[in-house]
Protein backbone atom coordinates (compact mmCIF):
# COMPACT_ATOMS: atom_id res chain seq x y z
CA UNK A 1 0.00 0.00 0.00
CA UNK A 2 1.37 3.46 -0.84
CA UNK A 3 1.96 5.74 2.08
CA UNK A 4 -0.66 8.15 0.84
CA UNK A 5 -3.23 5.40 0.60
CA UNK A 6 -2.30 4.06 4.03
CA UNK A 7 -2.70 7.51 5.50
CA UNK A 8 -5.99 8.15 3.78
CA UNK A 9 -7.41 4.93 5.16
CA UNK A 10 -6.04 5.61 8.63
CA UNK A 11 -6.96 9.27 8.81
CA UNK A 12 -9.56 10.27 11.36
CA UNK A 13 -11.97 13.20 11.43
CA UNK A 14 -10.05 15.51 13.74
CA UNK A 15 -6.77 15.34 11.79
CA UNK A 16 -8.08 17.15 8.74
CA UNK A 17 -6.58 20.49 9.74
CA UNK A 18 -9.94 22.16 9.33
CA UNK A 19 -12.13 23.97 11.83
CA UNK A 20 -11.92 27.39 13.38
CA UNK A 21 -8.47 28.75 14.31
CA UNK A 22 -6.97 25.59 12.78
CA UNK A 23 -3.60 27.33 12.40
CA UNK A 24 -3.24 27.14 16.19
CA UNK A 25 -5.94 24.84 17.51
CA UNK A 26 -5.48 21.32 16.16
CA UNK A 27 -8.43 19.63 17.82
CA UNK A 28 -11.10 19.95 20.49
CA UNK A 29 -12.11 17.06 22.70
CA UNK A 30 -14.92 16.76 25.23
CA UNK A 31 -15.23 13.77 27.53
CA UNK A 32 -18.05 12.86 29.92
CA UNK A 33 -17.42 10.36 32.74
CA UNK A 34 -20.41 8.25 33.80
CA UNK A 35 -20.96 5.24 36.06
CA UNK A 36 -23.78 2.77 36.51
CA UNK A 37 -25.63 2.62 39.82
CA UNK A 38 -25.20 -0.60 41.75
CA UNK A 39 -21.89 -1.70 40.23
CA UNK A 40 -18.44 -1.10 41.68
CA UNK A 41 -16.15 1.09 39.60
CA UNK A 42 -13.71 -0.73 37.26
CA UNK A 43 -10.78 -0.28 39.67
CA UNK A 44 -12.61 -2.34 42.33
CA UNK A 45 -14.89 -4.52 40.19
CA UNK A 46 -14.60 -8.29 39.93
CA UNK A 47 -14.28 -9.80 36.47
CA UNK A 48 -17.93 -10.91 36.55
CA UNK A 49 -19.03 -7.46 37.54
CA UNK A 50 -16.97 -5.85 34.79
CA UNK A 51 -18.48 -8.26 32.27
CA UNK A 52 -21.98 -7.45 33.54
CA UNK A 53 -21.30 -3.73 33.09
CA UNK A 54 -19.95 -4.39 29.61
CA UNK A 55 -23.04 -6.41 28.69
CA UNK A 56 -25.39 -3.78 30.00
CA UNK A 57 -23.53 -0.86 28.44
CA UNK A 58 -23.03 -2.64 25.13
CA UNK A 59 -26.74 -3.48 24.98
CA UNK A 60 -27.74 0.12 25.57
CA UNK A 61 -25.06 1.50 23.27
CA UNK A 62 -25.93 -0.78 20.40
CA UNK A 63 -29.65 -0.13 20.85
CA UNK A 64 -29.19 3.59 20.92
CA UNK A 65 -26.32 4.30 18.63
CA UNK A 66 -26.15 1.34 16.28
CA UNK A 67 -27.51 1.80 12.82
CA UNK A 68 -25.83 5.19 12.72
CA UNK A 69 -22.50 3.78 11.73
CA UNK A 70 -21.20 2.78 15.15
CA UNK A 71 -19.07 -0.29 15.80
CA UNK A 72 -18.58 -2.12 19.11
CA UNK A 73 -14.99 -3.29 19.59
CA UNK A 74 -13.74 -5.34 22.53
CA UNK A 75 -10.17 -4.62 23.52
CA UNK A 76 -9.48 -8.34 23.89
CA UNK A 77 -10.37 -8.85 20.20
CA UNK A 78 -7.74 -6.37 19.04
CA UNK A 79 -4.05 -7.00 18.54
CA UNK A 80 -1.64 -5.06 20.76
CA UNK A 81 -0.68 -2.93 17.78
CA UNK A 82 -4.26 -2.10 16.85
CA UNK A 83 -4.91 -1.00 20.42
CA UNK A 84 -1.80 1.16 20.33
CA UNK A 85 -2.94 2.81 17.10
CA UNK A 86 -6.32 3.68 18.67
CA UNK A 87 -4.45 5.26 21.59
CA UNK A 88 -2.21 7.24 19.25
CA UNK A 89 -5.25 8.49 17.35
CA UNK A 90 -6.50 9.76 20.74
CA UNK A 91 -9.66 7.64 20.30
CA UNK A 92 -9.12 5.57 23.43
CA UNK A 93 -6.96 6.02 26.52
CA UNK A 94 -4.06 3.75 27.47
CA UNK A 95 -6.07 2.76 30.56
CA UNK A 96 -8.75 1.11 28.44
CA UNK A 97 -6.23 -1.38 27.07
CA UNK A 98 -5.51 -2.73 30.58
CA UNK A 99 -6.41 -6.43 30.27
CA UNK A 100 -7.88 -6.37 33.80
CA UNK A 101 -10.63 -4.04 32.73
CA UNK A 102 -12.74 -5.94 30.18
CA UNK A 103 -12.53 -2.78 28.14
CA UNK A 104 -14.47 -2.06 24.97
CA UNK A 105 -15.08 0.93 22.75
CA UNK A 106 -18.00 1.97 20.61
CA UNK A 107 -16.69 4.00 17.69
CA UNK A 108 -18.59 6.12 15.23
CA UNK A 109 -17.71 5.57 11.59
CA UNK A 110 -16.05 8.98 11.21
CA UNK A 111 -14.30 8.38 14.55
CA UNK A 112 -15.49 11.65 16.06
CA UNK A 113 -17.37 9.81 18.82
CA UNK A 114 -15.84 7.08 20.93
CA UNK A 115 -17.55 5.61 23.95
CA UNK A 116 -15.24 3.70 26.25
CA UNK A 117 -16.63 0.96 28.48
CA UNK A 118 -14.81 -0.06 31.67
CA UNK A 119 -12.11 2.56 31.50
CA UNK A 120 -11.47 4.32 34.83
CA UNK A 121 -15.25 4.85 34.88
CA UNK A 122 -17.88 2.47 33.50
CA UNK A 123 -18.63 4.77 30.59
CA UNK A 124 -16.65 7.58 29.05
CA UNK A 125 -18.20 9.42 26.14
CA UNK A 126 -15.62 11.23 24.06
CA UNK A 127 -16.09 13.54 21.08
CA UNK A 128 -13.12 14.89 19.17
CA UNK A 129 -13.48 17.54 16.48
CA UNK A 130 -10.93 19.37 14.33
CA UNK A 131 -10.08 22.99 15.19
CA UNK A 132 -11.75 24.92 17.99
CA UNK A 133 -15.28 23.55 18.39
CA UNK A 134 -16.00 23.39 22.11
CA UNK A 135 -19.75 23.89 21.84
CA UNK A 136 -20.13 21.43 18.98
CA UNK A 137 -18.07 18.74 20.68
CA UNK A 138 -20.00 19.16 23.94
CA UNK A 139 -23.38 19.08 22.22
CA UNK A 140 -22.48 15.86 20.47
CA UNK A 141 -21.29 14.27 23.74
CA UNK A 142 -24.38 15.56 25.56
CA UNK A 143 -26.68 14.05 22.91
CA UNK A 144 -25.03 10.63 23.26
CA UNK A 145 -25.30 11.00 27.06
CA UNK A 146 -29.06 11.71 26.80
CA UNK A 147 -29.57 8.62 24.65
CA UNK A 148 -27.66 6.38 27.05
CA UNK A 149 -29.32 7.79 30.10
CA UNK A 150 -32.70 6.59 28.84
CA UNK A 151 -31.51 3.02 29.23
CA UNK A 152 -28.79 3.11 31.85
CA UNK A 153 -29.18 3.96 35.54
CA UNK A 154 -26.42 6.47 36.20
CA UNK A 155 -24.79 6.84 39.60
CA UNK A 156 -25.81 10.38 40.48
CA UNK A 157 -26.10 12.27 43.73
CA UNK A 158 -28.00 15.47 44.52
CA UNK A 159 -25.00 17.02 46.24
CA UNK A 160 -22.06 15.60 44.31
CA UNK A 161 -23.54 15.20 40.82
CA UNK A 162 -22.22 12.40 38.59
CA UNK A 163 -20.25 10.01 40.79
CA UNK A 164 -16.88 9.12 39.30
CA UNK A 165 -13.94 7.02 40.36
CA UNK A 166 -11.54 9.95 40.50
CA UNK A 167 -12.62 12.86 42.71
CA UNK A 168 -11.17 15.23 40.11
CA UNK A 169 -14.08 14.34 37.77
CA UNK A 170 -16.93 14.37 40.29
CA UNK A 171 -19.81 16.71 39.47
CA UNK A 172 -20.28 17.25 35.76
CA UNK A 173 -17.75 14.57 34.77
CA UNK A 174 -16.78 16.93 31.95
CA UNK A 175 -13.22 17.25 30.75
CA UNK A 176 -12.95 19.58 27.79
CA UNK A 177 -9.55 19.82 26.12
CA UNK A 178 -8.16 21.96 23.36
CA UNK A 179 -5.06 20.68 21.57
CA UNK A 180 -2.98 23.74 20.69
CA UNK A 181 0.16 24.24 18.65
CA UNK A 182 2.05 27.03 20.41
CA UNK A 183 5.53 27.21 18.83
CA UNK A 184 6.07 30.98 19.05
CA UNK A 185 5.15 31.10 22.75
CA UNK A 186 7.53 28.19 23.30
CA UNK A 187 10.42 29.61 21.22
CA UNK A 188 10.13 32.96 23.01
CA UNK A 189 9.85 31.12 26.39
CA UNK A 190 6.66 33.03 27.26
CA UNK A 191 4.78 29.78 27.79
CA UNK A 192 6.67 29.20 31.06
CA UNK A 193 5.18 32.38 32.48
CA UNK A 194 1.74 31.80 31.03
CA UNK A 195 1.15 28.27 32.33
CA UNK A 196 1.25 29.15 36.06
CA UNK A 197 -1.13 32.06 35.46
CA UNK A 198 -3.60 29.84 33.62
CA UNK A 199 -3.39 27.19 36.34
CA UNK A 200 -4.66 29.72 38.84
CA UNK A 201 -7.80 30.03 36.71
CA UNK A 202 -8.59 26.33 37.19
CA UNK A 203 -7.29 25.38 33.74
CA UNK A 204 -4.54 22.78 33.22
CA UNK A 205 -1.90 22.83 30.50
CA UNK A 206 0.09 19.74 29.64
CA UNK A 207 1.79 17.92 26.75
CA UNK A 208 -0.53 16.24 24.33
CA UNK A 209 1.36 13.04 23.58
CA UNK A 210 0.02 11.11 26.53
CA UNK A 211 -0.79 12.55 29.89
CA UNK A 212 2.12 13.70 31.96
CA UNK A 213 4.27 14.02 28.86
CA UNK A 214 6.28 17.00 27.77
CA UNK A 215 4.87 19.25 25.08
CA UNK A 216 6.43 17.27 22.27
CA UNK A 217 6.34 19.26 19.04
CA UNK A 218 5.11 22.32 20.96
CA UNK A 219 1.64 20.81 21.14
CA UNK A 220 -0.17 21.49 24.40
CA UNK A 221 -3.40 20.20 25.79
CA UNK A 222 -5.37 22.88 27.61
CA UNK A 223 -8.26 21.58 29.72
CA UNK A 224 -10.59 22.40 32.59
CA UNK A 225 -9.56 21.19 36.02
CA UNK A 226 -12.69 21.99 38.01
CA UNK A 227 -15.80 19.84 37.46
CA UNK A 228 -17.77 20.63 40.61
CA UNK A 229 -19.80 23.74 41.38
CA UNK A 230 -19.80 24.92 37.77
CA UNK A 231 -22.28 24.19 35.03
CA UNK A 232 -21.16 22.61 31.79
CA UNK A 233 -21.74 25.94 30.02
CA UNK A 234 -19.52 27.78 32.53
CA UNK A 235 -16.76 25.18 32.16
CA UNK A 236 -16.81 25.52 28.36
CA UNK A 237 -16.95 29.29 28.49
CA UNK A 238 -13.98 29.59 30.83
CA UNK A 239 -11.90 27.21 28.74
CA UNK A 240 -12.98 29.04 25.59
CA UNK A 241 -11.85 32.36 27.10
CA UNK A 242 -8.44 31.01 28.07
CA UNK A 243 -8.05 29.42 24.62
CA UNK A 244 -8.90 32.72 22.94
CA UNK A 245 -6.28 34.51 25.02
CA UNK A 246 -3.68 31.89 24.22
CA UNK A 247 -4.46 32.21 20.50
CA UNK A 248 -4.04 35.99 20.73
CA UNK A 249 -0.72 35.64 22.63
CA UNK A 250 0.57 33.07 20.14
CA UNK A 251 -0.40 35.28 17.18
CA UNK A 252 1.35 38.26 18.76
CA UNK A 253 4.48 36.21 19.47
CA UNK A 254 4.51 34.98 15.85
CA UNK A 255 4.20 38.55 14.63
CA UNK A 256 7.05 39.67 16.87
CA UNK A 257 9.27 36.83 15.70
CA UNK A 258 8.61 37.75 12.06
CA UNK A 259 9.28 41.41 12.65
CA UNK A 260 12.33 41.10 14.86
CA UNK A 261 14.14 38.01 13.60
CA UNK A 262 12.68 37.02 10.29
CA UNK A 263 15.87 35.65 8.74
CA UNK A 264 16.81 33.59 11.79
CA UNK A 265 13.26 32.24 11.91
CA UNK A 266 13.18 31.45 8.18
CA UNK A 267 16.52 29.70 8.49
CA UNK A 268 15.35 27.56 11.40
CA UNK A 269 12.07 26.57 9.76
CA UNK A 270 13.64 25.71 6.42
CA UNK A 271 16.42 23.71 8.08
CA UNK A 272 13.69 21.69 9.78
CA UNK A 273 11.99 21.10 6.44
CA UNK A 274 15.33 19.95 5.07
CA UNK A 275 15.72 17.51 7.97
CA UNK A 276 12.26 16.05 7.43
CA UNK A 277 12.85 15.63 3.71
CA UNK A 278 16.43 14.35 3.74
CA UNK A 279 17.19 12.76 7.14
CA UNK A 280 17.98 9.04 7.24
CA UNK A 281 17.42 8.73 11.00
CA UNK A 282 14.57 10.58 12.65
CA UNK A 283 14.10 10.13 16.41
CA UNK A 284 10.66 11.06 17.79
CA UNK A 285 11.78 14.25 19.52
CA UNK A 286 13.53 15.63 16.45
CA UNK A 287 10.66 14.67 14.16
CA UNK A 288 8.19 16.42 16.44
CA UNK A 289 10.33 19.57 16.66
CA UNK A 290 10.85 19.73 12.90
CA UNK A 291 7.17 19.12 12.19
CA UNK A 292 6.29 21.94 14.56
CA UNK A 293 8.73 24.24 12.76
CA UNK A 294 7.43 23.35 9.30
CA UNK A 295 3.86 23.78 10.45
CA UNK A 296 4.74 27.22 11.79
CA UNK A 297 6.43 27.99 8.47
CA UNK A 298 3.30 26.99 6.58
CA UNK A 299 1.05 29.02 8.91
CA UNK A 300 3.24 32.10 8.47
CA UNK A 301 3.42 31.67 4.70
CA UNK A 302 7.21 31.24 4.88
CA UNK A 303 7.03 27.68 3.63
CA UNK A 304 4.73 27.23 0.70
CA UNK A 305 3.27 24.20 -1.03
CA UNK A 306 3.04 21.98 2.05
CA UNK A 307 -0.46 21.16 3.19
CA UNK A 308 -1.15 21.64 6.93
CA UNK A 309 -3.25 18.48 7.00
CA UNK A 310 -0.10 16.54 6.03
CA UNK A 311 1.66 18.02 9.07
CA UNK A 312 -1.25 16.87 11.24
CA UNK A 313 -1.13 13.39 9.71
CA UNK A 314 2.61 13.08 10.22
CA UNK A 315 2.37 14.19 13.85
CA UNK A 316 0.15 11.17 14.43
CA UNK A 317 1.84 8.72 12.08
CA UNK A 318 5.32 9.30 13.47
CA UNK A 319 4.28 7.49 16.68
CA UNK A 320 5.49 3.93 17.33
CA UNK A 321 2.13 2.15 16.88
CA UNK A 322 1.41 3.70 13.51
CA UNK A 323 4.94 3.17 12.24
CA UNK A 324 4.83 -0.49 13.14
CA UNK A 325 1.37 -0.92 11.70
CA UNK A 326 2.51 0.58 8.42
CA UNK A 327 5.68 -1.50 8.45
CA UNK A 328 3.54 -4.49 9.38
CA UNK A 329 6.24 -5.61 11.78
CA UNK A 330 7.57 -5.00 15.27
CA UNK A 331 10.46 -2.56 15.09
CA UNK A 332 13.27 -1.72 17.49
CA UNK A 333 13.79 1.93 18.37
CA UNK A 334 16.58 2.34 15.81
CA UNK A 335 14.51 0.60 13.15
CA UNK A 336 11.67 2.94 13.96
CA UNK A 337 13.91 6.00 13.56
CA UNK A 338 15.04 4.73 10.16
CA UNK A 339 11.52 3.84 9.13
CA UNK A 340 10.17 7.19 10.34
CA UNK A 341 12.74 9.01 8.19
CA UNK A 342 11.76 6.88 5.21
CA UNK A 343 8.09 7.53 5.74
CA UNK A 344 8.57 11.30 6.04
CA UNK A 345 10.75 11.37 2.95
CA UNK A 346 8.20 9.41 0.99
CA UNK A 347 5.26 11.48 2.18
CA UNK A 348 6.92 14.83 1.56
CA UNK A 349 9.01 14.06 -1.47
CA UNK A 350 7.90 11.04 -3.41
CA UNK A 351 4.16 11.34 -2.78
CA UNK A 352 4.42 14.90 -3.95
CA UNK A 353 3.49 16.86 -0.86
CA UNK A 354 6.09 19.35 -2.05
CA UNK A 355 5.07 20.36 -5.58
CA UNK A 356 8.47 21.89 -6.28
CA UNK A 357 10.15 18.54 -5.76
CA UNK A 358 7.44 16.86 -7.79
CA UNK A 359 8.15 19.29 -10.58
CA UNK A 360 11.87 18.61 -10.50
CA UNK A 361 11.12 14.91 -10.75
CA UNK A 362 9.13 15.54 -13.89
CA UNK A 363 11.84 17.66 -15.46
Amino acid sequence: MSIEKFMQSAITGWMTGEGEYSDIVMATRVRLARNLRGYRFPIAASEDEALAVDKMAAGALLDEVDGKGYAYIRMSDLSKLDREVLVEKHLISPQLTNPERQGAVVLSEDETVSIMVNEEDHIRIQCIFPGLQLEEAYQQADAVDDLLEKQLPYAFDEQFGYLTSCPSNTGTGVRASVMMHLPALTITKQIKRIIPAITRLGIVVRGSYGEGSKALGNVYQVSNQVTLGKTEAEILEELGNVTARLIAHERQARKNLLEKSRTALEDRLHRSLGTLVYARLLPTGEAAKCLSDVRLGVDLGLIKDVDVSIMNELMIFMQPGFLQQYANAELTQEERDIFRAKLFRARLLIDGALPSTKKSKED
Binding site: G38, Y154, D157, F160, G161, C166, V226, T227, G229, K230
Partner: protein, 184 residues
Protein backbone atom coordinates in the same frame (compact mmCIF):
# COMPACT_ATOMS: atom_id res chain seq x y z
CA UNK B 1 6.84 -5.73 34.17
CA UNK B 2 4.89 -8.12 36.41
CA UNK B 3 3.27 -7.02 39.68
CA UNK B 4 5.58 -7.65 42.64
CA UNK B 5 2.74 -8.73 44.89
CA UNK B 6 0.51 -11.08 42.89
CA UNK B 7 3.22 -11.95 40.37
CA UNK B 8 0.50 -12.44 37.79
CA UNK B 9 -0.81 -9.19 36.40
CA UNK B 10 1.23 -6.50 34.67
CA UNK B 11 2.45 -3.74 36.99
CA UNK B 12 0.84 -0.43 36.16
CA UNK B 13 1.35 1.50 39.38
CA UNK B 14 4.66 2.74 40.74
CA UNK B 15 4.78 3.17 44.48
CA UNK B 16 7.49 5.09 46.22
CA UNK B 17 8.08 4.16 49.83
CA UNK B 18 10.37 6.17 52.03
CA UNK B 19 12.69 4.26 54.28
CA UNK B 20 15.64 5.60 56.29
CA UNK B 21 15.92 8.64 54.09
CA UNK B 22 15.93 6.60 50.89
CA UNK B 23 13.03 5.98 48.57
CA UNK B 24 12.33 2.52 47.21
CA UNK B 25 10.15 1.92 44.16
CA UNK B 26 7.56 -0.84 44.06
CA UNK B 27 5.73 -1.90 40.93
CA UNK B 28 2.22 -3.19 41.50
CA UNK B 29 -0.81 -3.97 39.39
CA UNK B 30 -3.87 -1.80 39.90
CA UNK B 31 -5.76 -4.48 41.87
CA UNK B 32 -2.94 -4.99 44.39
CA UNK B 33 -2.44 -1.24 44.60
CA UNK B 34 -6.13 -0.80 45.35
CA UNK B 35 -6.00 -3.33 48.16
CA UNK B 36 -2.70 -2.22 49.60
CA UNK B 37 -2.57 0.18 52.50
CA UNK B 38 1.11 0.08 53.09
CA UNK B 39 2.36 2.57 50.56
CA UNK B 40 1.92 5.87 48.89
CA UNK B 41 0.90 5.65 45.27
CA UNK B 42 1.90 7.26 42.08
CA UNK B 43 0.08 5.62 39.16
CA UNK B 44 2.18 6.44 36.15
CA UNK B 45 -0.85 7.27 34.04
CA UNK B 46 -2.21 9.96 36.35
CA UNK B 47 -1.13 13.40 35.18
CA UNK B 48 -2.11 15.43 38.21
CA UNK B 49 -1.12 12.78 40.68
CA UNK B 50 -4.34 13.30 42.58
CA UNK B 51 -3.36 10.71 45.16
CA UNK B 52 -0.14 12.52 46.00
CA UNK B 53 -2.06 15.74 46.12
CA UNK B 54 -4.59 14.27 48.54
CA UNK B 55 -1.92 12.62 50.64
CA UNK B 56 -0.13 15.93 50.97
CA UNK B 57 -3.25 17.82 51.94
CA UNK B 58 -4.83 15.34 54.26
CA UNK B 59 -2.26 12.74 55.10
CA UNK B 60 0.09 14.74 57.25
CA UNK B 61 2.16 16.54 54.68
CA UNK B 62 5.28 14.46 54.28
CA UNK B 63 5.13 11.93 51.46
CA UNK B 64 8.00 9.97 52.90
CA UNK B 65 6.61 9.85 56.38
CA UNK B 66 5.97 6.24 57.39
CA UNK B 67 2.35 5.17 57.37
CA UNK B 68 1.73 4.02 60.96
CA UNK B 69 2.55 7.45 62.35
CA UNK B 70 -0.17 9.16 60.44
CA UNK B 71 -2.71 6.37 60.66
CA UNK B 72 -4.71 5.15 63.58
CA UNK B 73 -7.41 7.78 63.52
CA UNK B 74 -10.93 6.41 63.19
CA UNK B 75 -11.63 8.65 60.22
CA UNK B 76 -8.92 6.90 58.23
CA UNK B 77 -10.43 3.53 59.11
CA UNK B 78 -13.93 4.39 57.87
CA UNK B 79 -14.67 1.56 55.44
CA UNK B 80 -17.02 1.41 52.49
CA UNK B 81 -19.38 -1.56 52.92
CA UNK B 82 -19.54 -2.26 49.18
CA UNK B 83 -15.93 -2.12 47.99
CA UNK B 84 -14.09 -2.21 51.36
CA UNK B 85 -12.08 0.91 50.55
CA UNK B 86 -11.04 2.75 53.71
CA UNK B 87 -10.87 6.53 53.84
CA UNK B 88 -7.12 6.29 54.44
CA UNK B 89 -6.78 4.10 51.36
CA UNK B 90 -8.86 6.58 49.36
CA UNK B 91 -6.45 9.35 50.30
CA UNK B 92 -3.55 7.15 49.21
CA UNK B 93 -4.81 6.07 45.81
CA UNK B 94 -7.00 9.11 45.12
CA UNK B 95 -9.81 6.99 43.68
CA UNK B 96 -13.22 5.85 44.89
CA UNK B 97 -14.03 2.17 44.48
CA UNK B 98 -17.78 2.55 44.03
CA UNK B 99 -20.66 4.99 44.31
CA UNK B 100 -21.29 3.89 47.91
CA UNK B 101 -17.90 5.37 48.90
CA UNK B 102 -19.45 8.79 48.39
CA UNK B 103 -22.15 7.95 50.95
CA UNK B 104 -19.68 6.35 53.36
CA UNK B 105 -17.24 9.28 53.33
CA UNK B 106 -19.94 11.92 52.88
CA UNK B 107 -18.97 13.98 55.90
CA UNK B 108 -15.36 14.32 54.85
CA UNK B 109 -15.80 14.83 51.14
CA UNK B 110 -16.70 18.53 50.98
CA UNK B 111 -13.27 19.22 52.47
CA UNK B 112 -11.55 17.05 49.84
CA UNK B 113 -13.59 18.46 46.96
CA UNK B 114 -13.02 22.00 48.14
CA UNK B 115 -9.28 21.54 47.71
CA UNK B 116 -9.63 19.89 44.30
CA UNK B 117 -12.29 22.12 42.80
CA UNK B 118 -11.34 25.65 43.78
CA UNK B 119 -13.44 25.64 46.93
CA UNK B 120 -16.53 24.20 45.23
CA UNK B 121 -18.33 21.33 46.95
CA UNK B 122 -21.77 21.08 45.34
CA UNK B 123 -22.83 20.05 41.83
CA UNK B 124 -24.69 22.67 39.84
CA UNK B 125 -24.57 21.17 36.35
CA UNK B 126 -26.64 18.70 34.35
CA UNK B 127 -29.08 16.41 36.15
CA UNK B 128 -30.19 13.14 34.50
CA UNK B 129 -33.86 13.16 33.52
CA UNK B 130 -34.42 9.86 35.32
CA UNK B 131 -32.96 11.35 38.46
CA UNK B 132 -35.27 14.30 38.18
CA UNK B 133 -38.21 11.89 38.20
CA UNK B 134 -36.98 10.13 41.32
CA UNK B 135 -36.23 13.47 42.90
CA UNK B 136 -39.77 14.63 42.12
CA UNK B 137 -41.18 11.55 43.87
CA UNK B 138 -39.01 12.22 46.90
CA UNK B 139 -40.26 15.79 47.09
CA UNK B 140 -43.86 14.57 46.73
CA UNK B 141 -43.39 12.10 49.62
CA UNK B 142 -42.11 14.90 51.82
CA UNK B 143 -45.10 17.03 50.87
CA UNK B 144 -47.60 14.24 51.60
CA UNK B 145 -45.98 13.56 54.98
CA UNK B 146 -46.26 17.19 55.99
CA UNK B 147 -49.93 17.17 55.04
CA UNK B 148 -50.42 13.92 56.95
CA UNK B 149 -48.89 15.46 60.06
CA UNK B 150 -51.19 18.43 59.73
CA UNK B 151 -54.19 16.11 59.37
CA UNK B 152 -53.16 14.16 62.47
CA UNK B 153 -52.77 17.36 64.48
CA UNK B 154 -56.20 18.54 63.32
CA UNK B 155 -57.58 15.08 64.25
CA UNK B 156 -58.73 14.45 60.68
CA UNK B 157 -57.75 10.79 60.99
CA UNK B 158 -59.48 9.49 57.91
CA UNK B 159 -57.64 11.98 55.72
CA UNK B 160 -54.39 11.22 57.54
CA UNK B 161 -54.81 7.49 56.81
CA UNK B 162 -55.33 8.23 53.12
CA UNK B 163 -52.24 10.41 53.05
CA UNK B 164 -50.25 7.71 54.84
CA UNK B 165 -51.28 5.19 52.16
CA UNK B 166 -50.33 7.63 49.42
CA UNK B 167 -46.92 8.19 51.00
CA UNK B 168 -46.42 4.41 51.27
CA UNK B 169 -47.34 3.94 47.64
CA UNK B 170 -44.93 6.65 46.54
CA UNK B 171 -42.23 5.19 48.72
CA UNK B 172 -42.82 1.80 47.12
CA UNK B 173 -42.62 3.38 43.70
CA UNK B 174 -39.39 5.13 44.63
CA UNK B 175 -37.73 1.96 45.90
CA UNK B 176 -38.84 0.02 42.83
CA UNK B 177 -37.39 2.69 40.62
CA UNK B 178 -34.12 2.50 42.48
CA UNK B 179 -33.92 -1.24 42.92
CA UNK B 180 -35.03 -2.18 39.45
CA UNK B 181 -31.60 -1.18 38.27
CA UNK B 182 -29.55 -2.85 40.95
CA UNK B 183 -27.44 -5.92 40.41
CA UNK B 184 -29.15 -9.04 41.77
Amino acid sequence: MICEKCKERPASVVITKGYMGESIEHHLCEKCAFQSEAFHFSPNEEPLSIQQFLSHWFGGGDTFQTQPKRRGTTAHQLECPDCKLTFGNFLDIGKFGCATCYETFKERLPHVFGKLHNGQTTHTGKIPVSFNELYAIKRKIEEVRVKMQEAVEAERFEEAAELRDEARMLQQHLSNGGEAYNVD
